[in-house]
């Protein structure tokens, strides 16, 4: 018995945090979720799996596109044509209502809003009972696990659940606890919803397959699906990468010797050293920027250096298989050019100024845009802006000193 567990295809969700990519790279990125899905289908057919579990969020209702749907239908049809069963449960992004249903190919097994069980007989004559449910609304606040049946009279019992572990506070995504899952004595819990592949429990495996393709910097590392095979009466799982684009961070140290050109060379050398198996979208993080010359620091903070580097990597990225989409400067560690006598005042003022409220207040009208509001309200943003401000202060104050010195002369 062999099957594939995947989730969160999010076929129609765009990539976040990218701008001004070269055209071919843009197309590659744009196609990545589709290619990843194709990879999964191809693997399923060559591996001759018995069935494929898709645990929710194949689409996003908010941005559902025809192209994505027809694409998925074609791919699922290929699986069915190869004699591979496809079992789908919908999640919070592709929840199904009575009036608006997805047209998946005939033969695909789709769970309804109640927990039900499907029994499949595999090629090696083993009976597999699969229980699951679909979201009928954006949220499911109740724990669904109690509705799952006890281990039935089958060789293997699998649970499909799109949701999140119960937390204190609001729980909108079919909250569950590991202990109640373990108590069902299933052979495998196929989870969806969390985009990072994650093993919550070893025996029986309670597994997040993760999204098949990371879509922003917060989804770094390899993504793919779980390939599960029976051995004796146990299920062995194996993560298989299917992603076409991978997000990662490259951290480099800079110092007094660093120049515009040497930094470009340093970055390119490090990129070459990455040898990524999958095309990498790289966030370049620079440490030690306080040691940089004022000029370079200014060009880094105002984006001039990045513009120059972009031209370089335009030429090379197909070769290095990497693209630096963002350069972040680690907040200056050393003294900014304010007197130690005033250090306390600077610190005090920083705490008072760099608050989320102040950011929102300053942003003013910009908060009308939901995506900007989301971004600006994130604590990460406050930290990032604080770091940036420090860097800029460093650059600006040093520039000031230099200008002053020059002026005096």
């Amino acid at each position: 018995m062999k099957f594939i567990h995947a989730a969160d295809l999010h076929l129609d969700s765009p990539f976040q945090g990218l701008q001004q990519l070269p055209k071919t790279l843009w197309a590659k990125v744009h196609n990545a979720p589709f290619q990843a899905t194709k990879q999964l289908v191809h693997d399923a057919i060559t591996q001759q799996v018995d069935f494929v579990l898709l645990v929710g969020d194949l689409f996003d209702r908010e941005t559902q596109s025809i192209q994505a749907q027809t694409f998925l239908n074609d791919e699922l049809q290929q699986l069915l044509d190869a004699g591979i069963q496809v079992i789908v449960s919908y999640g919070n992004h592709d929840y199904m209502t009575k009036d608006q249903q997805l047209h998946l190919p005939a033969g695909v097994i789709i769970f309804g809003p109640e927990v039900t069980t499907q029994t499949i007989t595999t090629a090696d004559r083993q009976r597999v009972a699969i229980s699951g449910f679909s979201y009928a609304d954006r949220w499911i606040d109740t724990d669904m696990v109690p509705q799952f049946p006890e281990h039935l009279d089958a060789d293997f019992q699998i649970g499909m659940l799109h949701g999140a572990v119960q937390q204190t506070g609001d729980n909108h995504y079919a909250p569950f606890t590991l202990s109640e899952m373990a108590a069902k004595h299933y052979d495998y819990w196929a989870l969806g919803h969390i985009h990072k592949p994650n093993l919550l429990a070893q025996q029986p495996p309670i597994v997040y397959a993760g999204t098949i393709q990371g879509r922003h910097k917060n989804e770094p590392g390899a993504h793919g699906y779980q390939l599960v095979t029976s051995a004796e009466h146990q299920l062995k799982r194996q993560f298989v990468a299917a992603d076409q684009i991978r997000w990662q961070t490259l951290t480099l140290m800079v110092d007094e010797q660093t120049t515009d050109t040497s930094l470009i060379r340093q970055v390119q050398k490090s990129l070459k050293g990455l040898h990524p198996q999958v095309f990498a979208l790289v966030e370049l993080q620079l440490n030690g920027i306080e040691k940089l010359s004022t000029g370079l620091l200014t060009r880094l903070t105002d984006g001039t250096w990045q513009a120059r580097f972009d031209q370089e990597q335009q030429r090379n990225y197909e070769h290095t298989h990497c693209w630096v989409y963002e350069v972040t400067l680690k907040a200056a560690q050393a003294q900014i050019q304010y007197a130690k006598l005033d250090a306390d005042f600077w610190q005090q003022a920083q705490t008072a100024v760099f608050t989320q409220e102040n950011i929102e207040l300053t942003a003013g009208k910009l908060m009308q845009y939901p995506f900007l509001a989301d971004h600006l309200q994130a604590p990460k943003t406050t930290a990032a802006i604080t770091a940036r401000a420090k860097n800029e202060l460093l650059a600006q104050s040093r520039l000031e000193v230099d200008q002053d010195a020059d002026h005096k002369a």
């Binding site: 765009p14 100024v353 910009l366 401000a389 002053d404």
Partner: protein
């Protein structure tokens, strides 16, 4: 810290210069270019290190090549120090000493002593230049208030400058009411892409409902297709059954085979047919055979000759054996006769050629011929020799005659005719053939030649005595010749007699002597021929006898054969007779054999015929028929029935049970035709419906396809996401600047407020001094700064005259420095800061500085001579222009 002494080795324009400074208030006067700024730089450089190469103009390398650097002596916290700094790494080589304890200290000790001060901080807090204050004095009221409010922070002037830069930079990125800033533009773009997304998003609904419709159409089409299939099947059945309807009905009503009669099997039928044919053939062969036997019996008669042969067979056969040799003999005889005739003819010819003496002439053998030849040769030889002698003698005679004549003439003519004639000839040729000088020359040459001919003999001369001796010799030779000839003639006569003697001995005298040897072959031939002819004659006679004897033995059959004529002819007749007999015997023998074979065949055929007839009869009686014809007709009838039955079965096999049911049920062909028509009409109706549905389905599919193949929506989503990223990054940049401005401002405010009580306390005394006791209080509020006049009236900074506001700033600024100096005691250095103050104000400022000097050393650099009268002369140090150069 109070600096007491400066010793400059070399720094800028200064070389080996020593300055002793007052430890409280020191005015240093120098005209422009006297080196005031250089001194300030020297002090900061000595304390905090030389400027690096990066700021070359601040290094003040000595112009004259003295050692770079110098010494400074100062007191700090009651202790005396001495500091020396010369060129070296990291800001110069430092020698640092505690004078009181005479302890050597290091660079680190100096830094620890100066903590937390550094060059920048020192310059920001303790150094005042004209520029710093001037900038403030040029500010507008609002900015001045801002400066005043923020005076309590270190470096607030430059920080405020930075916020201005940042504000303008932020303004270039985004303004809430702006139009052209990049962030504003991106947001507009975002709004428009959002609208597009919303409009394209609606397509999904359309796609879904289209999908449902298409699904419905597909179901309907399937239904119609099923109906159509059924109808088609029906029509097909009707069409299939129509042509066979009549045949089916006919076949199914045909009579059946009589069950009781035995059916003639195919094998039996074949046997009967073959038998009857065989019988017919046998009968016809028999009758032909009988005819032939009759003919052959007649052909058995024998001829009379054959009968005679049979009667005398032994005798004839015996003679016949000899016929071949006899015939051979006869032919040989003919050839021999011919040879003999030709021999006789040849003999007759030879006789005719040589005449009658031929038969007698003897044939010479080899030795005889040889002897004869020797005789002939000798004779010939002698004849030739004699002729030669005779000729020689004639010659001798002629010579003798000539010599005699010559001797007789004595004077011989001596003219050589050859030369004479040649010369004449030359003259003639010259006269007629040539002309001119050649003619003359030719004539002369001719004359010479002719002359030579005439006088030659005279020139060479002759000898008379020679001639006489020659004559004598010739005469003896002539005699000798005559004797010889005589001797030869005798020998010839002797030989001739010997030859004649030989001819007589061999009877050759009848022939010419010369032919004797030549006739020898013919003579030999003649004798041989004579012998041959005689031998042949004998043989011929003997053979003729043998032949005659053989022919006589045939005389008993002479009449039968018709013998007569030459031997040759008779032999031929006998041969012909014998050949005829052989042929006839052969023919008779063959005829006998054929007749016998035919008789055997006849009896065999007769038996076979009987067998076949009985066999046939048996078969016929088996089926109770009398004749073959009856049998045949019965068989054919049976066959027809079988075929019909088969056809019926075949037809039935083609038909399904439904077909058969329909055929049975349908009363007539017309009914069937009518049913088909009804089905056809229905079919057309369905087809029309199907067409409409297909059209609908293709339209729906086309629309679905069109919607599905457009990736515009996804692209828009990604574009929107990208745009969001861009907006976010720009927003972050803008916000960073905005917050940075706030941060700096907040820091300045906080710092100022933190130091407020001390600053205000000090500033109030300074302000009082500066304003000539007109104001005595400064009040900071959250919003603004107020001052209180001695009469108790309060003024907002904004309400003050600009001069007063400036004084307020100066008071606060120096108060700040004093506050800072209280924490970190450093000398206060003022470089013509009050250059724009009028004399009154400058005086008050200086008195403020005097106050300040009580807590910190004040070094006041000025180029304004007027200022010198405002301070005690011992407080002034004059920088001499000449000294510095």
């Amino acid at each position: 810290m109070r600096i007491t002494k400066l010793k400059i080795y070399g720094f800028g324009q200064f070389n080996d210069t020593v300055l002793d400074l007052a430890d409280d208030f020191q005015v240093i006067y120098g005209e422009n270019e006297a080196g005031k700024s250089t001194l300030v730089a020297f002090i900061t450089s000595l304390l905090f290190g030389f400027a690096t190469g990066k700021h070359r103009y601040e290094m003040y390398q000595p112009k004259r090549g003295s050692q770079y650097g110098g010494e400074v002596s100062f007191t700090h916290a009651g202790t005396h120090y001495w500091l020396k700094r010369v060129a070296g790494t990291h800001g110069g080589e430092v020698t640092f000493r505690n004078i009181d304890t005479n302890a050597g200290l290091g660079k680190a000790d100096l830094e620890a002593l100066l903590q937390p001060m550094n060059r920048e901080l020192f310059q920001q807090i303790f150094c005042f230049g004209e520029r710093q204050l001037q900038a403030v004095f040029n500010l507008n009221r609002f900015d001045l208030v801002q400066r005043i409010q923020r005076v309590g922070a270190i470096g607030s002037e430059s920080w405020i400058g930075l916020t201005k830069t940042l504000t303008s930079e932020a303004g270039e990125l985004y303004k809430p009411r702006g139009r052209v800033q990049p962030l504003v533009r991106l947001l507009h773009e975002y709004d428009s892409i959002n609208e597009k997304v919303a409009s394209v998003k609606g397509q999904f609904q359309q796609y879904q409902s289209l999908q449902s419709e298409a699904q419905k159409t597909r179901l309907e089409l399937n239904q119609i297709q099923r109906e159509l299939n059924q109808l088609n099947q029906q029509i097909n059945q009707y069409q299939r059954l129509l042509p066979i309807y009549e045949r089916y009905q006919a076949l199914n009503s045909d009579p059946k085979q009589a069950a009781n009669e035995a059916v003639i099997s195919a094998d039996d039928w074949r046997e009967v047919t073959q038998l009857s044919i065989a019988i017919k053939q046998a009968q016809s062969e028999l009758s032909a055979l009988q005819q032939r036997i009759k003919q052959q019996t007649a052909d058995q008669e024998v001829t009379a000759d054959q009968q005679f042969y049979r009667d005398h067979r032994e005798r004839i056969d015996k003679l016949a054996t000899q016929l071949a040799p006899m015939t051979e003999l006869q032919q040989q005889q003919t050839r021999r006769q011919a040879q003999m005739n030709s021999g006789q003819q040849e003999l007759a010819e030879l006789s005719k050629q040589y005449g009658s003496s031929l038969p007698q002439a003897a044939v010479l053998n080899d030795s005889e011929s040889q002897s004869l030849q020797v005789l002939f040769d000798q004779q010939q030889h002698l004849i030739i020799e004699r002729e030669a002698r005779a000729k020689q003698r004639q010659e001798h005679q002629a010579t003798f005659q000539a010599l005699t004549d010559k001797a007789n003439s004595d004077a011989p003519s001596g003219i050589d005719l050859k030369w004479l004639i040649g010369g004449v000839a030359v003259i003639i040729i010259a006269l007629f053939g040539l002309s001119g000088i050649l003619r003359t020359v030719g004539g002369v040459v001719g004359l010479f030649v002719a002359g030579y001919g005439i006088f030659k003999q005279t020139i060479f001369g002759g000898n008379q005595s020679d001639t006489d001796s020659q004559l004598a010799l010739l005469s003896s030779q002539l005699d000798q010749d005559r004797n010889q000839l005589t001797k030869l003639d005798q020998q010839l006569v002797e030989i001739e007699s010997q030859i004649t003697q030989f001819g007589t001995a061999h009877q050759l005298t009848g022939f010419d002597t010369a032919d004797w040897l030549a006739i020898q072959p013919d003579l030999r031939t003649y004798q041989t021929l004579q012998k041959q002819v005689a031998a042949q004659q004998d043989q011929l006679t003997q053979d003729t006898r043998t032949l005659r004897t053989y022919l006589v033995q045939w005389q008993f059959a002479g009449d039968v054969i018709g013998l007569g004529g030459s031997d040759d002819y008779q032999l031929q007749l006998i041969g012909q007779f014998l050949s005829e007999r052989r042929d006839e015997s052969q023919r008779l023998s063959w005829a006998g054999e054929t007749l016998k074979a035919n008789a055997e065949r006849q009896s065999m055929l007769q038996k076979q015929l009987r067998d076949q007839q009985s066999q046939l009869q048996q078969r016929l009686s088996q089926y109770q028929v009398a004749t073959v014809e009856a049998f045949e007709s019965r068989y054919q009838a049976e066959q027809t029935l079988t075929k019909q039955s088969e056809q019926r079965n075949a037809l039935n096999a083609q038909l399904t049970s439904a077909d058969r049911q329909l055929l049975r049920k349908t009363a007539s062909k017309d009914d069937l035709v009518a049913s088909e028509k009804v089905a056809q009409v229905k079919l057309n109706q369905f087809k029309q419906q199907q067409g409409t549905l297909l059209e609908q389905a293709s339209r729906q599919n086309y629309q679905l396809e069109r919607l599905a193949t457009s990736d515009r929506y996804q692209k828009l989503l990604q574009q929107r996401a990208d745009l969001q990223s861009e907006i976010i990054s720009l927003t972050d940049e803008w916000l960073t600047k905005q917050l940075l401005i706030k941060w700096i401002d907040q820091t300045l405010m906080t710092a100022s407020q933190g130091r407020q009580p001390q600053i205000i306390a000090t500033a109030e005394t300074f302000f009082k001094t500066l304003t000539g006791e007109r104001y005595d209080q400064i009040i900071f509020t959250d919003q603004t700064v107020q001052v209180e006049r001695t009469d108790g009236l309060k003024f907002d900074v904004g309400e003050l005259s600009s001069g007063t506001a400036e004084q307020l700033y100066v008071a606060l600024r120096f108060a700040f420095t004093k506050v800072m100096a209280d924490a970190v005691a450093m000398p206060i250095i003022i470089d013509d800061a009050f250059v724009n103050f009028d004399r009154d104000r400058t005086k008050r400022a200086l008195s403020m500085l005097q106050k300040l000097a009580s807590s910190s050393q004040v070094l006041y650099f000025t180029a304004n001579r007027d200022n010198l009268s405002l301070v005690a002369s011992d407080q002034v140090y004059h920088l001499e222009a000449g000294k510095s150069e």
